[in-house]
């Protein structure tokens, strides 16, 4: 049976991509995607994909059903919205669509006009993968290729005149057997790492951390799309820096002061220890409210960046979030010090709305 569903399905995917693209700014700033993140897929609520009709709302609505319970009990399975449609009406719910992260990254790239990254490094590190592509004459029975074996036997019997149309019997002999064989394919892979640093001092509140969370989600999505198998490291700092895991990074609460150089120092150590700059693509991002402990420390930061970090990384992004406290002068200081530096990208993020443009600033250079 030949059905055309493929065309309709592809058109449907095209339409949802269009709708997501149109609403991307909204999705980026409110973060509702992040809660629906799975391993490979992300689920996105998309009411726009529904065809509107005149239909009943909840007010005054009811129906009949069967089972236990007394008047006043909630309908089982009803948590407010959705259930409770009697008769032949389907349950109403907001339609959700699923996207792979690659699709999401493509949409992000198209909408923000992000250039593809030209990776550095000599692609020395290779990934290996077995692929069953070949055929050979010996092998285990579990890999026997029935069709090819049959064909060989047929060929032989026809050639030797054993084959008869009246009795089309094919008996393979030892020589006819064919087996699948594999080749090991090596694929050069660019290795990349993202190092996130975040200021968790007392002046960084939930709101500011939420911005960091959203930014890092989109940066991850994009860089993962550009480099397969990217690794990520997390550093938090107040007056001291620590390396932590992802969950801690986003949830920790600290109270101390702010010494930014502590984080840069740790970042430098991690790079020197684990990521030789000639084979690794290194991306470092630092988020802070820009209220550093002292001028001297500012200077030390600049020195670390200049001599150690910037030469090693593809790019260093500094995102400064708005805070009600403090001077927030660090971004101005960096601006003065590194006026001409291509690898250092500064972005001021006033609120959730500004994340969209900030991502464009960080990733728009294609380095």
């Amino acid at each position: 049976m030949l059905l055309h569903i493929e065309n309709d399905y592809n058109r449907f995917r095209q339409i949802i991509r269009g709708k997501i693209k149109k609403n991307l700014r909204k999705y980026i700033s409110n973060g509702e995607m992040i809660g629906r993140k799975g391993k490979d897929l992300i689920s996105i609520p998309l009411p726009q994909v529904e065809l509107p009709k005149f239909r009943f709302g909840n007010n005054g609505k009811g129906g009949a059903s069967q089972g236990q319970g007394k008047p006043g009990d909630p309908l089982s399975g009803d948590d407010g919205e959705g259930a409770g449609n009697a008769g032949n009406q389907p349950g109403y719910h907001i339609p959700e669509v699923e996207l792979t992260f690659d699709e999401l990254a493509e949409i992000l790239g198209e909408e923000l006009e992000l250039p593809n990254i030209e990776p550095k490094g000599k692609k020395e590190i290779v990934a290996e993968k077995d692929k069953y592509t070949g055929i050979r004459r010996v092998g285990p029975e579990s890999l026997r290729h029935f069709k090819r074996t049959f064909r060989e036997a047929l060929k032989r019997q026809v050639a030797s005149g054993e084959f008869s149309y009246k009795k089309p019997q094919i008996v393979p002999i030892r020589d006819d057997f064919r087996y699948r064989s594999w080749k090991t394919i090596t694929r050069p892979e660019n290795n990349a790492v993202i190092i996130y640093m975040m200021d968790v001092s007392g002046s960084m509140w939930e709101e500011q951390k939420e911005i960091v969370r959203l930014e890092s989600f989109w940066i991850d999505t994009w860089l993962q799309y550009q480099y397969k198998g990217i690794s990520t490291r997390y550093i938090i700092h107040d007056a001291q820096a620590h390396e932590v895991d992802r969950a801690t990074f986003f949830n920790i609460k600290e109270n101390g002061g702010t010494v930014i150089s502590s984080a840069y120092e740790l970042c430098r150590k991690i790079i020197e220890k684990d990521y030789p700059a000639d084979t690794w693509n290194i991306y470092a991002f630092h988020f802070s409210d820009g209220d550093n402990w002292s001028r001297e420390d500012n200077k030390y930061c600049a020195e670390l960046l200049q001599s150690k970090i910037l030469p090693a990384v593809n790019m260093f992004g500094y995102g400064q979030v708005e805070s009600t406290y403090g001077s927030g002068e660090f971004i101005d200081f960096l601006e003065e010090q590194f006026d001409e530096e291509e690898k250092l990208i500064l972005s001021f993020i006033a609120d959730n709305e500004a994340i969209y443009d900030s991502i464009r600033e960080f990733l728009g250079k294609g380095i």
Binding site: L51, P52, K61, G72, G80, N85, A86, P95
Partner: protein
């Protein structure tokens, strides 16, 4: 499937009467595709089929749902069976399918449907493809979207009744505006019939007549037909809207008889399986499948379950003569319970019921208080304060009312065109017949936009919100809602 002719024979012996049935065994990919297309192999190109396919095939892969069979109302009937069904499932499903086909062929509400719908659907598909090639994908697609957004604005009972006599066009003859004068002597005439008063009366009458010359003359429930006849559509748009309307009418009897149709099929698969074709070793698998079919779904009414039990109840009542004046008026519960006149009319009765009824009059006629009690039915309603659905009552009348309410007009609001020349400016005025359930204004908002894009003039819908009659309007740019003071 060597058991198929055997099951067919049993079905015929029981009196089921169906068109020839063509069975095809297909894999889940194919059945998901067919289900997305409403059972038809060729439909017009549209993304929503792709969306439905996506949901169905995912639902199967994730193990959330499984389609055992699909059967479509055509002659011959086509039935698709899922390849992965076990043998006992396949037997059950075949018996189930024969009963559906019997229902399609014999139920009154399907009498008007086109039994060559496969060809008709393919024809629709090629017409819409042609329009798409000529007028562009986006153009045609967005117009199809618009039409689909209005597809429930049909009059699902129209095929079965004549809504009104075709009236001869009354020309607005001026003599109709004549006012009857009182008898008087000529010289007294101007006192008995003062000219001012007569003129005023004439004026009033003529105003009334003009006001009565409304367009449409009578409120019209088939809004799609009204748009086809009166909206400023291009030829291809006219064709597309006609196609959507025709398909909506083709599918509407299935929605109107969901409980009856599924109940009938369940009744017969149960009868044929347990009396005739079940092998003893299959009994456990059969029982599991059957009880799954008629299981409780909390918060929803399972049409298989209620339909199945109602047919059995009817059969039992008519076998024992538990109907009519004498039975109804009997007060003695014990006598009623043991009532048995040995009439044996049950089988005859359920065949009659499957021929003449749809879900609404089926429930209205045969749902009894005893049945509600026995099957633990209750009514539920939305509680505004708690923002959830709650059990409302176990009272028979309340249950019946809610059930009928949810089945009325296939669960869709009843909406009519009452004036297509509102304010004498060609604006379209719709009236929602409010019956205690409000329409969803968020959806109404978007639907009005679509209606406006077809009508090309401002559109209005009158409804009731929080007990206040309200008029919602969209003029192509702005959306406006206001309460109406009725006078």
């Amino acid at each position: 499937m060597e058991f198929q002719p055997i099951i067919e024979k049993h079905a015929r012996d029981y009196g089921l009467d169906f068109f020839p049935v063509v069975f095809e065994v297909v894999d889940y990919e194919t059945i998901s595709q067919l289900a997305a297309y409403g059972g038809f192999p060729v439909r017009y190109p549209h993304w929503r089929f792709g969306m439905e396919y996506d949901q169905l095939s995912k639902g199967y892969r994730y193990g959330l749902q499984k389609i055992y069979e699909m059967v479509i109302n055509t002659n011959p009937c086509y039935a698709y069976l899922m390849q992965s069904n076990a043998k006992v499932d396949q037997k059950l499903v075949i018996a189930h399918v024969y009963a559906h086909c019997d229902f399609f062929k014999n139920n009154f509400y399907f009498a008007h449907t086109n039994r060559k719908m496969i060809d008709e659907m393919a024809n629709h598909a090629s017409r819409i493809r042609r329009h798409r090639d000529k007028h562009g994908l986006e153009n045609v697609e967005s117009f199809v979207d618009t039409c689909l957004s209005l597809e429930n604005l049909i009059d699902c009972h129209a095929p079965y009744i004549q809504r009104r006599q075709v009236e001869p066009d009354e020309d607005g003859a001026p003599d109709k505006d004549q006012v009857r004068k009182l008898k008087s002597k000529k010289y007294l005439d101007k006192y008995i019939n003062p000219p001012d008063f007569i003129e005023a009366q004439k004026e009033e009458k003529s105003q009334k007549r003009i006001a009565e010359q409304k367009f449409p003359k009578h409120p019209e429930r088939d809004i799609l037909l009204f748009l086809l006849e009166n909206a400023p559509l291009e030829n291809w748009q006219h064709d597309v809207l006609g196609i959507i309307r025709e398909e909506a009418y083709y599918f509407s009897p299935q929605a109107m008889t969901k409980i009856m149709n599924e109940g009938w099929a369940t009744y017969w698969h149960s009868k044929i399986m347990t009396h005739k074709v079940l092998d003893p070793f299959e009994i456990v698998d059969y029982a599991e499948h059957h009880s799954g079919t008629i299981a409780d779904h909390p918060g929803q009414l399972n049409p298989y379950r209620i339909g199945y039990h109602l047919y059995k109840d009817i059969e039992d009542r008519w076998n024992k003569g538990k109907f009519g004046k004498e039975y109804d008026e009997c007060d003695d519960l014990k006598v009623k319970k043991e009532w048995d006149k040995k009439l044996n009319l049950g089988m005859e009765k359920i065949f009659e019921v499957r021929k003449l009824y749809n879900d609404i009059n089926f429930i209205d006629t045969f749902l009894t208080e005893e049945f509600c009690r026995e099957h633990n039915l209750f009514s539920f309603a939305y509680n505004n304060n708690n923002e959830r659905y709650e059990i409302e009552s176990r009272d028979f009348q309340a249950i019946k009312k809610r059930l009928l309410q949810s089945l009325t007009n296939i669960g869709q609001p009843i909406i009519r065109v009452v004036d297509a020349n509102y304010k004498n400016r060609g604006e379209l005025y719709l009236m929602h017949q409010y019956e205690e359930v409000e329409i969803d204004m968020k959806y109404a908002h978007d639907t009005l936009i679509n209606l406006n894009s077809i009508w090309k003039r401002p559109v209005h819908i009158q409804t009731v919100l929080e007990d206040e009659p309200t008029l919602f309007s969209y003029d192509g740019q702005e959306f406006k809602g206001q309460e109406i003071s009725e006078n």
